[in-house]
Symmetry: C2
Subunit: 220 residues, 2 copies
């Protein structure tokens, strides 16, 4: 194998690691919301335990990036791809943290009668997971069109967040006994909204890689 | 100037940029909380406008890191210092986002009679700003003792967050008219708590730089 081939091989391994981490985090998001809806303590604990795995994945990716930089001394786009990988792993790790946060809410609410049927929150989780997957696909394939689509999907998540937020406020106003529980659910909606923002960050890195254009960052 | 001297000079410039960014973000946190307390719309708008500056600072630091890597091909600890700078700039940018979030709450509540006198939230802001400054000092001086102290201060912020959270819940339960406002203030307390978590992230990077030991990440 030539030096360049070996290098391409390592870059490809890095991409695969990011995909694996992204899939793991996407699953964790879904499972966390499922554990909340089904009041499934075991599943919530599984998500919480999985956070260590996510943290290790981030460290592993960071280390690989450092080794690649040290041994291959990459330039131009290769260097940007590696720099982006370091930043993207941070976004994925934060998403994993939010899945962990949601699982903790699930534990807290596991023995309380549900406030209402969950409709919008699972929809938000589904959209968020899809955005994570698409964002990583766009990064791996350097597909700016898909990256832009993900950024657009974020508007839908923001809309759903506003909807949930307002609805939960009315529950609190109707009956003060709902307040503690509704506050926790507002946090869950907020975590999902932030997960979607992190997915758009990943897309902005992809657009930067391909076009050299920096996009205005969304405040997270 | 020798190559090594010029390189040391650039590393020093990178450290200075991180300090400048950290000071700016620390100020923004304080100003955001002041704008909330004093219902000062102008100050809130100033913090909101400052978010673009923070974003530019992050991009500038990222670019400098990339250039340093490309031109100096650093190894071992130098490479870790630059890698850490990339990660730390992300933490600072997220803190800046939270200052922006707090300023937005300030705008939303600017024309509402205050729920109560603010005591704990300003204390949280003060502690958070101190943690940011100390975390960056620790990074620049590679001072693991100070880094550990910052991590300990985080426990105090967590304790204050719990205090504010519980107190605001009681306000909501007492009078449903408080709910919307109290929910916003819970968000503010949460943002401050997360800012402190980001400061501990910076310290964990410093400890890693010096000792090579990775610490268990705090879930943010």
């Amino acid at each position: 194998m030539s030096v360049r081939q070996s290098y391409d091989h390592e870059l490809e391994a890095l991409r695969q690691d990011l995909l694996t981490m992204g899939n793991f985090v996407g699953e964790a998001i879904q499972q966390a919301v499922q554990s909340l809806i089904k009041q499934d303590v075991e599943l919530a604990n599984q998500v919480i335990a999985g956070d260590d795995v996510v943290d290790s994945m981030e460290i592993d990716i960071e280390d690989k990036c450092m080794v690649l930089i040290a041994t291959q001394q990459p330039l131009a786009r290769d260097l940007r791809i590696i720099g982006a990988a370091m930043k993207i792993s941070t976004d994925l790790e934060r998403m994993g943290d939010h899945a962990y946060d949601i699982a903790n809410v699930a534990l807290r609410l596991a023995d309380k009668p549900p406030l209402k049927e969950f409709i919008v929150i699972p929809r938000m989780a589904e959209l968020a997971q899809q955005m994570v997957n698409d964002a990583l696909d766009a990064y791996v394939r350097l597909d700016t069109l898909l990256a832009e689509q993900v950024c657009e999907a974020d508007d839908e998540v923001d809309r759903l967040y506003d909807h949930v937020f307002r609805e939960l406020l009315t529950y609190m106003i109707e009956d003060p006994r709902n307040i503690s529980q509704a506050t926790q659910l507002i946090f869950v909606a907020r975590y999902l909204e932030r997960i979607a923002d992190h997915a758009t960050n990943i897309c902005e890195w992809t657009i930067f890689l391909v076009t050299g254009q920096r996009m205005r960052k969304k405040s997270i």
